[in-house]
Amino acid sequence: MPIQYEGIINEHQWTRNNCAVFDICHMGEFLIQADALSSNLDKILTQNLVGMPLKTCRYGFMLNDNAGIIDDVIIYRIEQNKWMLVVNAATQAADFEHLRKNLARNNVKLENVSNSLAKLDLQGPLSRDVLVAIAGEGILKLDYYAFDYFSVLGENIIISRTGYTGELGFELYVNNDKVIELWNLLLENKKVKPAGLGARDTLRLEVGYPLYGQDINQKTTPLEAGLTSFVDMKKDFIGKTAIEKKQKQGLEKKLCCFQTESRRAPRHDYEIFANNQKIGIVTSGSYSPSLGCGIGMGYLETQITAIGTEIILLLENIKINAKVVKRPFYQKGSLRA
């Protein structure tokens, strides 16, 4: 997947106003046949699998014993005892190993299908109309975070109403040998343009979605990242004890959003200062095409995270004034339209 096709800002705006297709084939998919409880799968993931209706998805985490995030994943419940896990590209091997180690041996089948399954994301307020013409009216019935099988190009493919842009959107899972045909079919509609990794990053950042490896990793927990709504504390899971301990102790740092006073953008690894003291580093940052200013995220010392707090972002000869703001930066997305 290229960084850009015709330019990041154009692709970004086109996704917010029309519809764009993203080549997301680099991401990994695992198929798991297992009973959620007896296989331990429910313990490996932070979402409650038992209560998940069929053909719905959940965003959640695999944690280590210290509650550090091994990966953020999307869980698909295909059948009562059949699941698909969509994982990040760079963490694929570690994720697979973690699952293999912690899943029960009996009556469990774990398969990495990443090399045969391709993924395209269709995102933007017009994505539903575009997809109805290709996959049929069944698309209209898909609720947010639900999926189904649809007949496309003579194959039965999974389409879920999910995405990473804050807009109404869908993710399409298709066999490798059909993906180019599907890509071209989507682009036949003049409302659809291709968008690259650059726009994917600015779109997700504007809605405050974390990027694994930058904003969250094995050393951060869902608590500091402000992602506890994807962790079910009523069930047992790997990392739960560590989370409870941290909750009692209190947090030293928290993932915060900030906005600059100019068009200057925070960037990954810029240092963050308040009252002449270093209080954190930028984990993600960019120019925001929708807001016309710089936006970023980073972990700040907990006592300096109030909305409106003035901070300074620094790298060598670059010095940018910014303010802590609410997440998300951009609130006008068509996500739940």
């Binding site: 650059g198 600015t202 200057r264 120019y287 790298l315 670059i318």
Partner: protein, 128 residues
């Protein structure tokens, strides 16, 4: 990539147009293309001294923040306020409306350290 004749170029992809003892400069078509959508330009104050190949301005694109280096030593005698207000001019018109600043030269012999259009074209080919 557009590499106009009659200009001089640096290895860091700045261009210079010499007019008497004044040197107007900007970044090359190749540079603006590599940076992608330019969102911010920081230029020096007037009358500041600059040194050949030392940082003199900053350009930010959606992708990254990049230093711009002075192609020649001298004193800043003009800056383009248009590109500060409309940074996309650097993308749209790198050699014309997207110029960055003018340097009043102090050491004209430094021109020998720059490339002409032909040499810069070859330099781009070799480094692609």
């Amino acid at each position: 990539m557009n590499v106009p004749e009659g200009l001089f170029y640096t290895k860091e992809h700045e261009w210079v147009k010499i007019d008497g003892n004044l040197a107007k400069m900007g970044i090359s078509d190749h540079a603006q293309h590599e940076l992608g959508d330019i969102t911010f330009v920081e230029l020096p104050a007037l009358h500041v001294q600059c040194k050949q190949f030392k940082q003199i301005a900053i350009i930010e694109s959606v992708k990254a923040a990049s230093d711009v280096y002075a192609p020649l030593s001298g004193k800043i005698s003009a800056v383009n306020k248009q590109v500060v207000a409309n940074p996309e001019l650097v993308n749209q018109s790198p050699y014309d409306q997207g110029w960055l600043l003018v340097i009043e030269l102090t050491e004209e012999s430094q021109l020998a350290n720059l490339m002409d259009a032909e040499t810069y074209k070859n330099y781009l080919k070799e480094n692609l």
